[in-house]
């Protein structure tokens, strides 16, 4: 893409009515793969793949736990990138992304913590410990909740968005700490099973549904966030002509 082509795309994308109209069409392209991939991951993961040689069927919670944990990190990183765009370029659509992504990311973080605890009790012998991985993931949940609370607490939407953008950027320091916590320190939580560089320590038939689940959850994240953005957009621009026009004409 040429410099000017990218610039034009960037500005068109930043136009709120344009985003509102095209996002309705994009939603399908996120929803369909999300449903198909998650459906495959759950059916294969819960019913088809063999049990683990040590844990038996308990290990199957991984098909929810790992995709949720991945999205908890991905979501916050995406919010931080949007935070930079919102602070530097003052693009409204980036502000709206942060506000819409925060509750979705918080939900995935909560799911990762809860499924982890349910798995930990029979496997480790405890629901919770204060090791570096578990503690930093809990802090991530608080950061998400902080962004949500900050947005609710500040009346002016632009000031609120700027504060949320700043907290997203500051909090992203926690993301590499979560990821590398199991490498830098001794923790109860095990190291990564799957890594981009080091391959996987999992049977291939067990691995494919896990990767499909992670990808499917990513689409789900995009879908939910996009829908949240549309709602935010309508609310924030409720007094503008383009919203009025679309609401009265359907």
């Amino acid at each position: 893409m040429t410099g000017t082509g990218f610039k034009r795309w960037f500005h068109r994308f930043g136009s709120l009515p344009y985003f509102y109209d095209v996002s309705a069409r994009w939603a399908v392209w996120l929803a369909v793969p999300a449903v198909v991939l998650i459906g495959y991951a759950l059916v294969a993961g819960l019913f088809v793949v063999p049990p683990d040689y040590q844990q038996g069927d308990v290990f199957r919670i991984i098909y929810i736990h790992v995709p949720s944990a991945w999205l908890s990190l991905f979501g916050y990183t995406a919010m931080a990138v949007a935070g930079v765009v919102a602070l530097v370029w003052r693009l409204k659509i980036a502000e709206i992304f942060i506000v819409a992504a925060a509750p979705v990311g918080a939900s995935f973080t909560f799911l990762a913590l809860v499924t982890g605890a349910i798995w930990g009790e029979p496997t480790w012998g405890t629901y919770w410990v204060w090791d570096a991985r578990l503690t930093s993931e809990l802090i991530l949940l608080f950061l998400y909740l902080g962004v949500i609370a900050l947005h609710q607490a500040i009346e002016s939407p632009r000031t609120a968005a700027r504060a949320c953008a700043l907290l997203s950027i500051v909090g992203v320091i926690n993301v590499p700490i979560i990821h590398y916590s199991v490498v830098w320190w001794t923790t109860l939580h095990q190291g990564s099973t799957v890594s981009l560089t080091g391959g996987s320590k999992m049977d291939a038939d067990m691995l494919w549904p896990l990767l499909a689940g992670a990808l499917g959850f990513t689409f789900l994240f995009g879908w939910l966030t996009l829908w949240g953005m549309r709602v935010q957009l309508l609310w924030r621009e409720r007094r503008s002509r383009w919203v009025m026009k679309r609401i009265t004409h359907g």
Partner: protein, 154 residues
């Protein structure tokens, strides 16, 4: 890029660098406190304050598990190949506890150098396979030495 945007980008960039540096310094300074458990060789080297309660982690040494009498007590050795610490424990054990498996014991070192534990947690080795694969690999008896995922980066 306009002048204001470049200035804002620079500001955000230096904010991130500053915060990252501060976090790195803090975490390095508190490294000993962030560790969830200590390895047997760190105890042998005298790097662990042994007068307080602490956690020790390693593999249950092969052939070291014995259960004297009452059915609740268990004695075994935690090893990281470089060093071994004998452990006494009375209570229930997690499902994953077995020889060659990673465990973390919480308790106190006594004068004789034995570790009196009141909690045992199992550490998962992060590999997943079907019973068939495990049989084919003759796994399940696991590593002879401390795997990398039980050691902190140095």
């Amino acid at each position: 890029m306009t002048r204001t945007r470049r200035r804002r980008l620079l500001l955000v960039g230096s904010l991130l660098v500053g915060l990252g540096g501060a976090a790195a310094l803090m975490l390095t300074a508190f490294k000993q406190d962030v560790l969830y458990f200590h390895e047997p060789s760190a105890i042998a080297a005298g790097d662990v304050p042994i007068n307080t309660r602490f956690r020790i982690g390693g593999l249950v040494a092969a052939g070291s598990v014995n259960r004297p009498g009452d059915g609740l007590s268990v004695n075994f050795k935690i090893s990281d190949c470089a060093a071994t610490v004998p452990v006494r424990y009375r209570g229930t054990l997690p499902d994953l506890f077995r020889e060659g498996q990673g465990v973390i014991a919480y308790g106190k070192l006594d004068a004789a150098g034995e570790f009196e534990a009141d909690q045992i947690l199992a550490k998962h080795d992060s590999s997943y396979m079907s019973p068939d694969t495990a049989r084919a690999l003759k796994a399940g008896t696991a590593d002879a030495c401390m795997p990398a995922n039980m050691q902190a980066a140095r």
